[in-house]
């Protein structure tokens, strides 16, 4: 059993899940693949299992945050040292996983590496102009709050160390969790940084953001961010580094 886990949250991704699993096995051979089926009504779970993934099926849809957290719980309970989140819809390129791992190994003080679409002008899929504007708003806000440069706060392509895994298993935001998770990490004084990746347009299914009204997404996450500032600082564990 490897000590590295790829967490693939999937909701009705029968069209793309097999390819996602196969590509991870192919390009990131050291990673076990865990597909968290968030109450799909199609054959996502069976297809993922046939493709060679371990599949955990939630009894009903709990939302992306709960599904991803379930993956982190699995990683924590099974002693994984590194976990990477990879969307089941084919947006994230498994060839970037070894690069994320290398970046994580370079700096021992960094607990999470995010794959960012906007770090350089390398092209690839970068969402619609309106969405990009929204993403930029969050990037600026999060950069300001965490005193570091964040260019792609909504990217779900992230790799964490054991410390990140344990934190996310304990506490993870409910819906649209990506932006809040960065702040959560920051509140616990864990460092994170980005590396440039190229994303592809999704090959199947629908974005969790598309399912919501974009304005609702903005307002909900902004509320979470600002209330998060007011929230009492979470208890810092002894082994967490000082600021």
């Amino acid at each position: 059993m490897s000590r590295h886990l790829a967490i693939v949250p999937a909701l009705n991704e029968a069209g793309s899940i097999a390819q996602t699993v196969t590509e991870i096995h192919q390009h990131a051979a050291g990673f076990d693949v865990l597909v968290v089926d968030d109450g799909s009504v199609d054959d996502t779970a069976a297809i993922a299992a046939a493709a060679g993934a371990r599949v955990i099926s939630l009894p009903f849809n709990v939302g992306i945050g709960g599904a991803v957290q379930c993956g982190y719980l699995y990683a924590r309970d099974n002693g994984y040292e590194v976990a990477v989140q990879v969307d089941g819809d084919g947006q994230h390129d498994a060839r970037d996983i070894p690069r994320l791992l290398a970046a994580l190994g370079e700096e021992p003080a960094v607990e999470m590496i995010t794959g960012s679409r906007f770090l350089t002008d390398q092209g690839g899929y970068r969402s619609s102009p309106l969405r990009r504007a929204g993403i930029r708003v969050f990037a600026a806000l999060i950069s300001l709050l965490t005193h570091q440069r964040v260019t792609d706060a909504t990217s779900g392509f992230r790799m964490s160390t054991r410390r990140g895994i344990e934190l996310f298993a304990r506490d993870y935001p409910h819906d649209y969790p990506e932006v809040e998770a960065i702040l959560l990490l920051h509140a616990h004084r864990l460092r994170s940084r980005e590396i440039a990746v190229t994303m592809r347009p999704r090959t199947s299914g629908r974005s969790t953001i598309a399912r919501a009204v974009p304005a609702y997404y903005m307002v909900k996450v902004l509320l979470a961010v600002f209330v998060g500032i007011l929230r009492a600082r979470p208890s810092i564990e002894a082994e967490e580094p000082p600021r």
Binding site: V55, I56, L58, P59, V62, Q69, C70, L73, H174
Partner: protein, 131 residues
């Protein structure tokens, strides 16, 4: 513009008081009946009973309502009665939102635990059938 209450506002007409008393009594009967049939849990019944009791007291004890409404500058005591009722509705709704939030979190944790346990069970069964 804030108009301060006249020295002593007139007490509410009798038929309004009777209506409020009737509603309060009805709420108590319905809530107690729902608890008796185990359809409503005691902890969620308490707020309803408190609301009904206070409305009942205010409707019966005219002096208290009149004093209260002139204290806060409401000129017509029946309006004060409605204001109190409305405040209770707001508190009840907020408490329901709190309950829903807690249930959502617990529900999520249960779903995750069930999914992880089902996976472990499958794993154990597989190992067992192999040996």
């Amino acid at each position: 513009m804030i108009v301060l209450a006249a020295a002593r506002a007139a007490p509410p007409p009798t038929y309004q008081r009777v209506a409020v008393i009737a509603i309060a009594v009805l709420v108590v009967i319905v809530v107690v009946e729902l608890v008796r049939r185990r359809r409503l849990m005691e902890r969620y019944a308490l707020l309803w009973l408190a609301a009904a009791t206070i409305l009942f007291v205010l409707a019966v004890w005219q002096g208290l309502l009149t004093t209260l409404s002139s204290e806060v500058g409401i000129r017509s005591p029946p309006n004060a009665l409605f204001a109190v009722g409305f405040a209770f509705v707001v508190v009840l709704l907020l408490s329901l939102s709190l309950v829903i939030s807690r249930l959502t979190e617990q529900n999520k944790q249960l779903a995750q635990r069930v999914a992880l346990l089902a996976d472990r069970l499958k794993q154990l069964e597989q190992e067992r059938s192999e040996t």
